[in-house]
Symmetry: C2
Subunit: 342 residues, 2 copies
């Protein structure tokens, strides 16, 4: 591939001049500029982002770590982030942690070595000492959807506490008293929130919380499926179930189908994370809709602000900018036909 030197030679100027026309970093006489541009064109020259990064220590690449891009929730997040960042010349290095701390650690390692300009992370929930490394080197970290065990950056999340509260409250108002909830490991900040909301709603209705109605399942659809079967078999007297993510909803519906249980006749249902297909099952599912676009918006804005801060503090040192705030977005209960009055 041609280098800046080839261009300089062909245009009969120095590499400095070429650099200046490329970056508009300096005024260049129109005719020399034209010559340079012509040379660039002729050689099909493209500045090496690598070399540029080395000198400027700016990579214009952002690390994005999510648990599983196959989950529509995260797919939408990646897309939303890409949409908002690609237009500014950033590239995304996307990593699937698959909910494994070890993979998360390896990915962090790789991205650190790659000197990304910033990171957007949906953390697994395990503590990651490597994160300290990022903050030590002033690489902006923004957490999306989930809070890391040790705070080390702004958290942009959805108020799942309120979301679950709304779901539970909705069922309670319909007269339900024995409401099961299907969640992932309570290690995750989002799960803590969900359970909080669930418990609070019960308490507000002067009901005690039956811990045996809280079903914890692993992340995969198959695991959710199994757990759902257990749930349905163990607690025949319950009247409603809240599934707190896409996989749980899928697994639960499969299990119900297999056990010939109908909703809302046998059991009422509320799903988390709305999705087009939820309206296509019979009857359509009541769901808590998560504001994904707003989430991406806030996340990218926060990240850009953080990177801005970081750039500033590099120039004029000791201008401590205040840390960026966490943001909590509200979810919305969409009432459809999967809950009945009892």
């Amino acid at each position: 591939m041609p280098t800046i030197r080839d261009v300089a030679k062909l245009a009969g100027v120095s590499t400095a001049t070429v650099s200046h026309v490329i970056n508009n970093s300096h005024v260049v006489r129109p005719d020399t500029r034209q010559r340079v541009l012509a040379a660039i064109e002729r050689l099909n020259y493209r500045p090496s982002a690598i070399a540029r990064s080395l000198t400027t220590s700016v990579t214009r690449s952002i690390g994005v770590m999510v648990a599983d891009i196959t989950n529509p929730f995260f797919a939408a997040i990646v897309r939303g982030i890409e949409d908002r960042l690609e237009t500014h010349g950033y590239n995304l290095i996307v990593c699937n942690t698959d909910e494994q701390a070890s993979r998360e650690a390896r990915d962090l390692e790789l991205l650190l070595a790659r000197r990304v300009d910033g990171m957007i992370i949906a953390p697994t929930g395990e503590p990651q000492p490597l994160l300290r490394e990022f903050v030590a080197h002033n690489i902006p970290l923004v957490f999306i959807d989930r809070k890391p065990p040790e705070p080390c950056g702004p958290v942009i999340a959805i108020d799942t506490r309120a979301g679950t509260y709304a779901a539970t409250d909705h069922l309670l108002r319909l007269g339900h008293r024995r409401i099961a909830i299907l969640v992932r490991s309570p290690m995750l900040s989002t799960v803590v929130g969900r359970l909080d909301g669930y418990r609070q709603a019960l308490r507000d209705h002067h009901l005690s919380v039956d811990e045996s109605l809280i079903y914890v399942s692993d992340y995969a659809v198959e695991a959710a499926h199994e757990t759902a079967h257990r749930l349905l078999s163990n607690s025949p007297w319950l009247t409603a179930i809240i599934a707190t993510n896409h996989a749980m909803t899928l697994g639960l519906l499969e299990a119900m189908q297999e056990q010939y249980l109908k909703y809302p006749d046998d059991i009422s249902l509320v799903a988390f994370d709305d999705n087009p297909w939820l309206t296509l099952v019979t009857p359509p599912l009541t769901a808590v809709r998560l504001p994904i676009q707003a989430l991406c918006d806030a996340t990218v804005k926060t990240l850009r602000a953080a990177m801005e801060n970081q750039a500033q503090s590099k120039k004029s040192s000791h201008v401590e900018s205040q840390p960026l705030p966490d943001i909590l977005l509200q979810a919305e209960l969409i009432s459809r036909a999967s809950c009945r009055k009892i």
Copy 2:
């Protein structure tokens, strides 16, 4: 961040030695090795992938371009590729082209500047002169799912022609004669295949093809939704519909719901791209299952082979390795309850 020089200084050796212990590129006496390792540890040193790339001209990053990661098909592809590449120390730079040639061009530009080691592309279908640039610079290109307008790399795809043939044939054998098909722009290679299969099946059953039963829709769910409405209103006499991707299936089902049309009673249905939720609608949808894992497998293998070739040819020049073959994977029709005999 500490550099290799800091490590060398602290360990009392030269940078070359440090480099050698990092890369195992040379035998180093055990005790010096230990000192170096200790220094690395103490400084929390991490080699800069940027600098390394500049000297070795290897980035260990792969560009991945898909239309829309929000489509479960592509989400699964990205995940499948990541799974198979991350373990080898590669990172994915993921780009959403959103089916727009302009965005695709911009992404190609960025990835070229980033000097990726290879590319996996699901092309939009528009000609992209920039692709020539990649082949000119010997950057391996592998196309996944779709064929680019001008051949410039191996194509790993699913035999959609056979898949649609099977779907159409299935309906024909059930006695259907007026079968509509919902597709995207026939510009795409995958759509050409689909229509071929459809037409061929009809011909094989000695039926003429009614072009008015071929409904072309834009990519988004909303577009599919509208087109589906048109389809349902314009052709009241048809007895079956084939929806050729996830968005089409969604849009069609929504439209049928809105028009109070039941399947399989009013119309029989076959969907492309199986998905867990297809078994949860009532009745479960007959679908063509796409072998996504095999697709990712073949794609990554081909890419790695191509990169291997490229590396070899760099060493011993003029050892022309034969071009890698295209691969066509077979889809499978999963018969469920959405088609009835007539």
